[in-house]
Every structure is written in structure tokens, then in C-alpha cells.
């Protein structure tokens, strides 16, 4: 049985490219007058299709993961599904009570106490008062805020705030649950707890629509996937194949980037990226980077700050968004000019797969001033010798130099 039927749904936004500034009612009126009397166009309108002809059927009990790059239309689709904004054309048919969780603690009022906010937030998420009363103790217990029930939430720590918000949402019992990246908040412990709760919900046979950048989380939670690209539905089907195709598509290597002037370079607070490159120093195989290849990362940046202590912090992520490591050096006093940073990743460390690197420039050993996210992406290809095993090598790293020593301890 289909619980959600999305038929030909499109959503367009009008983007104005202003020729003249038009931020206030007055500007708008004077421009309007100009347009009428002088025939002058104050702005050029362009239609932007955030969603184009989406057709999707979701069955009861299905756990659908929505994936796609930033700006692919995932959030717009969720907004249309949860009726926050209406589609421009097409229609959706939804059977059953739906709750959408686009944020944790929606509508919490800082002046109200935890107790009052549970009722407020519950009502906002569509729970009846009687249901909230029934679940009240469970919510309080799950959030672990018994002591602070009558404290205004503005005095809560951010962790308590998030826990309370999630606890309320987790005790909603809708037939269809729409979740957007809410798992990205909170500490690791809480994330584990919330993923666990999501699993429980999915086991109970409810329909879930889940959006996240964390492909691992999507894969472990969902059984089907839908891939969006520039507002269009590219693929839908079993989650693993959708995720794999998506990874293949995005893992185009981006091994070198260079900016010719500060004006066009990304930068912040006097630090601008100049040159960024990852290259193999040894052990290429068929011109491909393989697991035994050693790599060197070079990062040059313009420094406009005089006599400051700067250091570099390098983050390596798998393409699914999990951080493998973060390495930083100690700060050095630099003068204005170009600063070069080099970093070697030895061979036989990383597993095969797609990775990306983010780089952070830190001032005075404590204050991050510039963060270049997803600066470079690269693939490591599989290569193995002396083993019969040909399946996917598990793990994010493959440190084959770590030796396992085996010997026969006793003879029988």
C-alpha cells in the first residue's frame, strides 16, 4: 500500500537579479513607478526550479533515504512533503498522520519551563494533549531533565535543550516520520541514542523519510533510497545501489586547485588560499593512486597578517562524511606573504575508497580563522597481493604494516 504518492511535483522560485537595489517597500514602489512611467526594468526575473517533475511512491513501512548534493532539492522536497511550502504544480497524496522533524526543539520558547515547553512543542508537532500527558514521564526520562523540569529552557545547557527536543520528537507516534539531519547535533553519545531510537521506530513498521549527508547513517537506517540531482529525481531503488551510484558520481578527483589572485580566492581574516595539491610521491600503479601509494599534500596561502602565530589543521574524511583523522601542527610566527604547508600521508595507511580533505588555519593555537571545507577529493584504488580475498576490504584504513604475529603455541 502506498502511503505517499508524489505525482509530478515541481516547485519554482522566482529569483530576481536586481539591476537596482530593491530591499524595502519604498524601493519597490519607486522602482514600480519607474517601470510604469519610464518603461525601465528594475530587475530581471528568472525562474528557478528547485524541484522538477518528481514522481515517487513510498510504501507503508518503507524507510526512504533522500540523498543528493547540496542544492539538489532534498530540503525543498521535505518542505513540500511536510506542507511548509506548497508545490507550484503537481500533487501529493499522503495517507496517515505525518510528523516532520526538520529541527530539534521547534518552537521552544526560551522563557517557558521545560514542562511548559513539552506541551507547547508536542502541540506544535501535532500531538494531542492527552497523548502528551500519557508520554510525559517517558519524555522526561529519555531526556534526563527531571531536576530542571521547572526551569526556563533559556537556562538549559545546549545539550539539555537538544535532548529535550529530541525526546519529545521521539515519543511522537506518527505513521509517517520525516526527519532532516537532526542527528547531526549533540555529542557522540547522544547521536548513538538517537540513531538507536530511529531504528526502534523503523522496526515498528512506520514509514520514515530521512535526509542526511552522512551516507553511512542513511545506509544503516534506510532500505530504499532516492537520489536527487538539481531538482530532478535521478534514481530510486534499494539503498545500497543508490548510494554506490551516488558515490561514483561525486568522487571525481579534485587533485589540484589554484587561485591566481586574492580577489577570487576563498579566504577569511587576512588568510586566502593560493594553491592546493595532492600528489603521489611514490608507488603509482597504472597511473592510479593505490593503497600503497604515498601522498603529499601541499597547501599555500597568502597571509596578510603581520607577526601572527599560525598553524594548520588537516581533516581527512571518507566520502560518506566520517572523519578519519585530524592532524595539526604547532603555531609558528609568520610575517606577511605566502606560506607553504606540506603534509605527507604514507602509503599502506588508507583503505581503498574516496576521501576528501578539509583544511583549517588556526591563529594563536586556538582561534580558527579560515576553514576550507571539502578542499580536495581523491580516490584510492584497490590493489592487493598475496591474498585470495577479493571482496571489499572493510574499514576506513588499511594499515598493512601493523603486523599480526601468529605462532603455534602448543602441539597436540
Amino acid at each position: 500500500m502506498n502511503v505517499i504518492n508524489i505525482e509530478n511535483v515541481s516547485k519554482s522560485y522566482i529569483i530576481k537579479h536586481n539591476v537596482v537595489k530593491q530591499d524595502t517597500l519604498r524601493d519597490s514602489m519607486t522602482n514600480f513607478a519607474k517601470e510604469i512611467f519610464k518603461g525601465k526594468k528594475s530587475s530581471e526575473k528568472e525562474e528557478f526550479w528547485a524541484l522538477k517533475n518528481i514522481n515517487l511512491k513510498i510504501e507503508k513501512g518503507e524507510r526512504l533515504g533522500l540523498i543528493g548534493a547540496n542544492g539538489a532539492g532534498k530540503s525543498t522536497l521535505l518542505k513540500v512533503l511536510s506542507r511548509i511550502t506548497s508545490p507550484t504544480t503537481g500533487e501529493l497524496r499522503i495517507k496517515g498522520r505525518m510528523a516532520s522533524l526538520l529541527e530539534v526543539g521547534t518552537g521552544f520558547h526560551p522563557e517557558l519551563t521545560g514542562r511548559e515547553n513539552i506541551f507547547l512543542n508536542g502541540a506544535i508537532l501535532g500531538m494531542r494533549k492527552a497523548e502528551i500527558k500519557l508520554q510525559f514521564n517517558n519524555i522526561v526520562e529519555f531526556a534526563g531533565i527531571e531536576k530542571f523540569l521547572d526551569t526556563p529552557v533559556k537556562r538549559y545547557s545546549s545539550g539539555m535543550y537538544v535532548r529535550l527536543g529530541f525526546a519529545i520528537a521521539a515519543h511522537l507516534e506518527p505513521e509517517i516520520l520525516v526527519v532532516d539531519e537532526v542527528l547531526a547535533v549533540g555529542d557522540a553519545d547522544f547521536q548513538k541514542k538517537s540513531i538507536g531510537k530511529m531504528r526502534d521506530v523503523s522496526k515498528s513498521g512506520r514509514t520514515i523519510i530521512f535526509v542526511s549527508h552522512n551516507l553511512t547513517a542513511v545506509q544503516s537506517l534506510c532500505n530504499t533510497g532516492a537520489l536527487l540531482k538539481k531538482g530532478e529525481l535521478v534514481e530510486s531503488g534499494p539503498i545500497n545501489s543508490v548510494v554506490n551510484n551516488y558515490i561514483q558520481e561525486i568522487s571525481t578527483n579534485n587533485l589540484k586547485r589554484e587561485w591566481l589572485s586574492k580577489n577570487i580566492a576563498p579566504g577569511n581574516e587576512g588568510v586566502f588560499a593560493k594553491y592546493l595539491c595532492i600528489e603521489a610521491t611514490s608507488g603509482l600503479y597504472n597511473n592510479q593512486i593505490i593503497t600503497s601509494t604515498s601522498l603529499k599534500l601541499t597547501f599555500d596561502f597568502w597571509n596578510e597578517l603581520d607577526q601572527v602565530k599560525l598553524n594548520i589543521s588537516v581533516f581527512l574524511y571518507t566520502i560518506t562524511g566520517e572523519c578519519i583523522f585530524n592532524i595539526a601542527n604547532t603555531g609558528i610566527l609568520f610575517s606577511k606573504g605566502v606560506i607553504r604547508n606540506e603534509f605527507e600521508i604514507p602509503g599502506d595507511l588508507l583503505n581503498d575508497g574516496s576521501y576528501f580533505i578539509s583544511i583549517m588555519v588556526v591563529r594563536d593555537d586556538a582561534k580558527p580563522i579560515f576553514f576550507l571545507e571539502e578542499a580536495l577529493t581523491f580516490d584510492i584504488h584497490d590493489f592487493r597481493e598475496g591474498t585470495e580475498w577479493l571482496g571489499k576490504w572493510p574499514g576506513a584504513v588499511r594499515p598493512v604494516n601493523l603486523k599480526i604475529v601468529s605462532s603455534q603455541l602448543e602441539l597436540e
Partner: protein, 279 residues
């Protein structure tokens, strides 16, 4: 919503479904109204006492400025503060409601951009906030009547009717302001300004007859202000035989309410689904 019922979302849906849905969300309506009331006096020392202080001090100042300095109290058969108080009660209620309604969508943008519910319940949930003030001020008025020994008659039962009518006037204008404010924050500047000078072109501190006596030709324009009708009605209801019923200001008010509410609600409905795209 019950299981098995199908909900269709498309660009437009019918009027009946729209109102049915508002009924479904009545619990949220109450809880939002309650929230505004609870939040209002958090972290105050005097709390509800403010609801007495505001009309009382405003009235005393007006009695001083208009009654004593402006000499409008001459020839008025009852204490002038009793003339001023109905006007002040209604004006405070009206201006507060107008302010709340026109800011409502923007101040609740965290809700509007994250969850669905019929948006129109937000402006209407502000009703009770002003109502509490009005009720307290009304009790103050009754106490004063006893103090001055000028007792109102049976017509006092019409007071709630004029409170509601003035709320509808505020809604008619406020719904437009609320929608426009989403896109043009100029409205946020305009409304306090309108409230500031609106008090002088409404018979808050004086009686509307006074305008007629001084300048009958301006008076025919003056009564077009719908608030004039509300305040004249309040005086008629609250002051016994002192103030006659004024049809000349009552009819324009009713016409204003009918037109502005119908057009205002339609305007609101037309735009409510795109609030999130502009907020």
C-alpha cells in the same frame, strides 16, 4: 487525523478543507494563546498590576492634558476620567491587538519555517492577550463608577460586543500588515507610527461630538475612522444616559469590518503558503 484518510497537497485546495483543518488545529491555537499570556509577565515584579497601571496612568495624563489644560471637561456632567477611561480601554486593546497581529508571522518565523499548521491561527491567537488587559481595565472602570457614584445601566452588557468589534477592525487591517510584513519589514516601522498618531484622530481623550461641534465638515470624514465607531459604542454602553448611540460612526465601522475581513482573509490565504519563501 484518523488513519486511512487521505490528504492531498497541491498548489490550491478547497475552502471547506481549509476551514476544517483550522478546526483540527484548535488545540495548537489554544496553546499558542496560552504561551503568549504566560510569557508576557515572566521576570516581572508587578506582573498583572501592569494591566491596571497602564490604563490608569494614561487616563490620568489625558484628563490632565485634555480636560484641565485643553479645557474640554467644561460642561461635562460626569467626572472627566469616566469619559476618558472607556476610550483608553478600547484604544489600548485595539492598538495592542493591531500590533500583535501585524507582527505575528514574523515573530513566529521559527514556527512558520519549520512546521505546518494553518498560519491564520497565529494572528488570531493574540486575541486573549489584549482581552485580559481589557477585562482588568474594565474592572477598574466599574470600581471608579462606584467611587464617583455614577452607575452604568443595563447597556453595559454590550461592552464585550464592542471589544470584539474593535478586535475585528484590528484584524481586518492587521492581516494585511502581517502578510506584507513578511516581505516588507517597513510595516514593522509603520504600525507603531500609525498607532501613535491614530490616538489623536480617534475620540480617545475627548468625545466625538466635540469634533462635530467644532467643525461639522471634517466630522463627516472623521467618522470614517472605524475606531471612532468602536469608542462611541463603548461610551454608549458604559456611561448610561450620558452618551447617545452614534449611528453615523457605527455604520462605517461595520462596513469597514465586513470588507476588510473578507478581503484580508482572502489576501492572507493567498499568501500564507509562500511565507516561508520570503520570511
Amino acid at each position: 487525523m484518523k488513519e486511512g484518510k487521505e490528504r492531498i497537497i497541491k498548489a490550491k485546495f478547497s475552502v471547506i478543507d481549509y476551514w476544517k483543518e483550522i478546526l483540527e488545529y484548535r488545540e495548537l491555537f489554544w496553546i499558542l494563546a496560552k504561551r503568549d499570556i504566560i510569557v508576557r509577565y515572566k521576570q516581572t515584579i508587578f506582573g498583572l498590576a501592569w494591566s491596571v497601571v497602564r490604563p490608569l496612568v494614561t487616563s490620568i495624563v489625558m484628563v490632565f492634558a485634555f480636560g484641565r489644560v485643553g479645557n474640554l471637561s467644561e460642561g461635562v456632567s460626569i467626572p472627566y476620567i469616566l469619559v476618558v477611561l472607556p476610550g483608553v480601554i478600547l484604544w489600548l486593546f485595539f492598538s495592542q491587538s493591531l500590533m500583535q497581529i501585524s507582527m505575528s508571522i514574523v515573530t513566529n518565523n521559527n514556527l512558520v519555517s519549520k512546521v505546518f499548521f494553518p498560519r491564520i491561527i497565529i494572528p488570531f491567537s493574540s486575541f486573549f492577550l489584549g482581552l485580559i488587559d481589557a477585562v482588568i481595565a474594565f474592572i477598574l472602570f466599574v470600581a471608579m463608577c462606584f467611587y464617583y457614584n455614577v452607575l452604568p445601566d443595563w447597556k453595559i452588557i454590550f461592552v464585550p460586543a464592542f471589544i470584539i468589534l474593535s478586535y475585528l477592525v484590528a484584524t481586518g487591517a492587521g492581516l494585511f500588515a502581517a502578510v506584507l510584513n513578511v516581505k516588507y519589514r517597513d510595516i514593522g516601522q509603520l504600525i507603531p507610527f500609525v498607532i501613535q498618531f491614530g490616538m489623536y484622530i480617534s475620540p480617545v481623550a475627548y468625545m466625538s461630538e466635540f469634533v462635530f461641534d467644532k467643525n461639522p465638515s471634517i466630522y463627516s470624514w472623521y467618522v470614517l475612522n472605524p475606531v471612532v465607531g468602536c469608542i462611541d459604542g463603548m461610551r454608549w454602553a458604559m456611561l448610561g444616559d450620558f452618551a447617545p448611540f452614534n449611528w453615523q460612526s457605527f455604520i462605517p465601522m461595520i462596513v469597514f469590518i465586513c470588507i476588510s475581513l473578507i478581503v484580508g482573509i482572502r489576501f492572507f490565504r493567498k499568501h500564507e503558503n509562500s511565507f516561508v519563501d520570503y520570511i
